[in-house]
Subunit: 429 residues, 2 copies
């Protein structure tokens, strides 16, 4: 028997457990594929005596990271702890010890991906992170390898399962945000503190990673504009449906004239767009390249086995590089430096829902203000009456974000405008 | 400047032209990515003096394959001629000469993929063929690498753009096959002789390749059951719609109890299935793995630039292996041998549309014959009258194909059955 490739798992939570089970279940096939077995030698946990759902031999458990870093039999360290520290320190130690690293850690890759990839490169080892974005969906390797001949024009992703579950329910049942959030929490689809998901922060981390790969330039997390879904109402969804749109929380990145834009916010997309049919907790990433045209990658964005699937794919790839003494084969692909556009400069279409006084000339006045800021109107719906007020819904043609914001400020100050109920960007070519 | 990696293109048709243009347009970025430039050194054509749509320097054109095989500066040979010969011979010569090969040739890979991959392996070079299936959609590398930890359960693909265009038009416009085929031919979506597309042969080749990769066993083309879309009528599509189904030409492969099944035929799928929304000439491959769950890959399955995108992705990958002296990194993944189930043994649900005498007891008699063959009925629709005949539409529960066929033979011989208008398989879990 050939000498097995030793693997250490850091963390045995949801994804750690899934990864361990896949490696065990597929032991034989992985050996057939690689020619050598892959063997989990150590599993780092905080408490070696804690009861666990995944049956791991007690002898593998350790609470001492140093023993892993020093172990010459361990070629691949798999970080599945999440969060910044101590994961960041452990990964750096593993890379410096000449071990390849596989990670599912989006927080870390979004914040320190550049540094870690450089460290992997200088140590001649692999740092693979397919599982850090969109769970089991193959997207990082397809972008880095299969689509490498393309100049990417845009990437649009449904990359947070919790918010997609909530928006799908709201759309199907006509219910409001708070109600569905409660349901999602009861079902385990949303956490007790849902902030990171519903405010778009989780999606922003994944978008920073994806945009960096798609446009071959490091897109820093703090350059990503972020807006969550808490203000979306059943009413907005109903208006969207009437006009042929579906509301999704999208991570959007584009490159135009050498500048990159990156933003996470709820958006209306045409209901015929492939992303509009991505429902429940599913994720999907839609890309447009100058050669490939439109392509989309769809699947489960989270969960023990889906995310474990991506982790194990990376482990097998890193193991192959190890057996062929060819580690560090594909490293950082941010070979370029492109500025990130300030958010005010993006160009978009907008849906505005306004409560206005129900009297003659109101629409003309509003249209006048918009026109003064180069906002031209494509669609107007006015039908609902709320006491002596009316509700006006407008969809604009393409306009610069900063122009729209200036117009909104003026509208907000006008007597005839009772309230700007909502503003949602419309993503349509 | 570093010494460029020399590439030869065999063929300068649609895909050859697209590939050349992408390599030229993205010259700088490819060099940034690889650290060395990729340079087209020779282009094999039949007639060096023919006028061409893709502007290639005359000095690159040659009609002598031997000059390419002998050229030590050429590391990668890209076969884009299509068909079996002389492509088969040229690829073998290139592999034997120690050159890596990239090909978009589905006919060849479906028939001789095993032999060619073995030859690549024994010569320590790469044979990459992402472009041979589903044009620009990354699917072969995702299956071979990203999803390598999965036991694949099933793969269902819309892998022929012509038939998907035709079925989409038939569905949207209520028109019949012959009419839409004509339109597709006028638009250039279907060839003058459309046999290979509409009879499912093109899809069968791609399915043989995909099934071999998904299930890690060589699935021979002649083991794939093939049935085309020529018998699908506007009436079938309308009945399907009423019952919540969409008709697509699918390539289906599954593994159950160590046996593989592989078949291409029109199928009804639930309209909520992600494949049901794949319209026009788009392709998509849906897979289900034991870890990843459901995933789908969507994009353009043909065309100069989409297919060229996949070819260039492979060229960059092969070039990277070449610069790192690591050719032959991923070779054949058919490490197993699994029998292909005979078609009579597959289990499926079926839609039957029958013209029957319009008199009492007919349905009971038909149900009796089906029951005798263990075919149980899920849905019955009876509403249309054609003179003194009636039309009955049945959807069965799951049943073995051979049982259904026996029942159909008996039904066909019955006096009360005027005609079995159509039988379409229903793919639903």
């Amino acid at each position: 028997m050939k000498k097995p490739i030793g693997v250490a798992l850091l963390g045995l939570g949801t994804v750690g457990g899934g990864t361990y089970r896949i490696l065990e279940n597929r032991k034989k096939e992985i050996e057939q594929r690689l020619g050598v077995p892959v063997e989990v030698k150590k599993v780092l946990v905080r408490d070696v005596n804690k009861a666990r759902t995944t049956a791991v031999p007690q002898a593998l458990l350790t609470d001492k990271p140093a023993g892993i870093m020093e172990d010459q039999e361990i070629a691949i360290v798999v970080e599945l702890m999440g969060g910044i520290e101590p994961a960041f320190t452990y990964i750096k130690e593993a890379l410096k010890a000449g071990k390849s690293v596989v990670t599912a850690n989006k927080d870390l890759m979004a914040l320190h991906g550049g540094e870690l990839l450089a460290l992997a490169e200088s140590n001649g080892v692999d740092l693979e992170f397919e599982a850090s974005v969109a769970g089991g969906i193959p997207i990082i390797r397809p972008l880095k390898v299969c689509l490498a001949g393309n100049r990417m024009e845009e990437l649009k992703g449904i990359i947070n399962g919790t918010t997609n579950f909530i928006l799908t329910k709201m759309t199907q049942e006509g219910s409001d945000f708070a109600e569905v959030l409660k349901e999602a929490q009861d079902l385990g689809y949303a956490e007790a503190d849902p902030t990171s998901d519903v405010e778009g922060l989780d999606a922003a981390r994944k978008l920073a990673i994806l945009a960096s790969i798609a446009f071959n330039t490091r897109v820093a997390l703090d350059k990503v504009y972020v807006e969550g879904i808490t203000k979306i109402s059943a009413r907005d969804i109903e208006y969207a449906r009437e006009m042929g749109y579906t509301i999704k929380l999208l991570g959007i990145a584009k490159e135009q004239e050498g500048q990159v834009e990156a933003r996470v916010h709820p958006a209306m997309i045409p209901s015929y767009h492939p992303l509009a049919a991505v429902n429940d907790a599913f994720n999907a990433i839609f890309v447009r390249g100058d050669a490939v045209g439109d392509a989309m990658f769809y699947g489960r964005g989270a969960g023990d086995l889906p995310t474990g699937s991506a982790v194990v794919g990376d482990i097998i790839d890193a193991a192959r590089n190890y057996t062929r003494q060819n580690q560090g084969r594909i490293s950082c692909t941010c070979y370029d430096e492109k500025p990130v556009k300030s958010f005010g400069k993006i160009v978009c279409r907008y849906y505005l829902r306004l409560r206005v006084s129900d009297k003659p000339g109101v629409l003309a006045a509003i249209a006048g203000v918009l026109g003064d800021h180069e906002v031209s109107i494509q669609t107007v719906i006015q039908k609902e009456h709320v006491g002596k007020d009316a509700e006006i819904v407008l969809v604009t043609h393409k306009v610069k974000e900063e122009n729209l914001q200036k117009a909104l400020q003026i509208l907000e100050a006008m007597d005839i405008v009772e309230k700007i109920n909502n503003v949602i960007r419309v993503e349509q070519d």
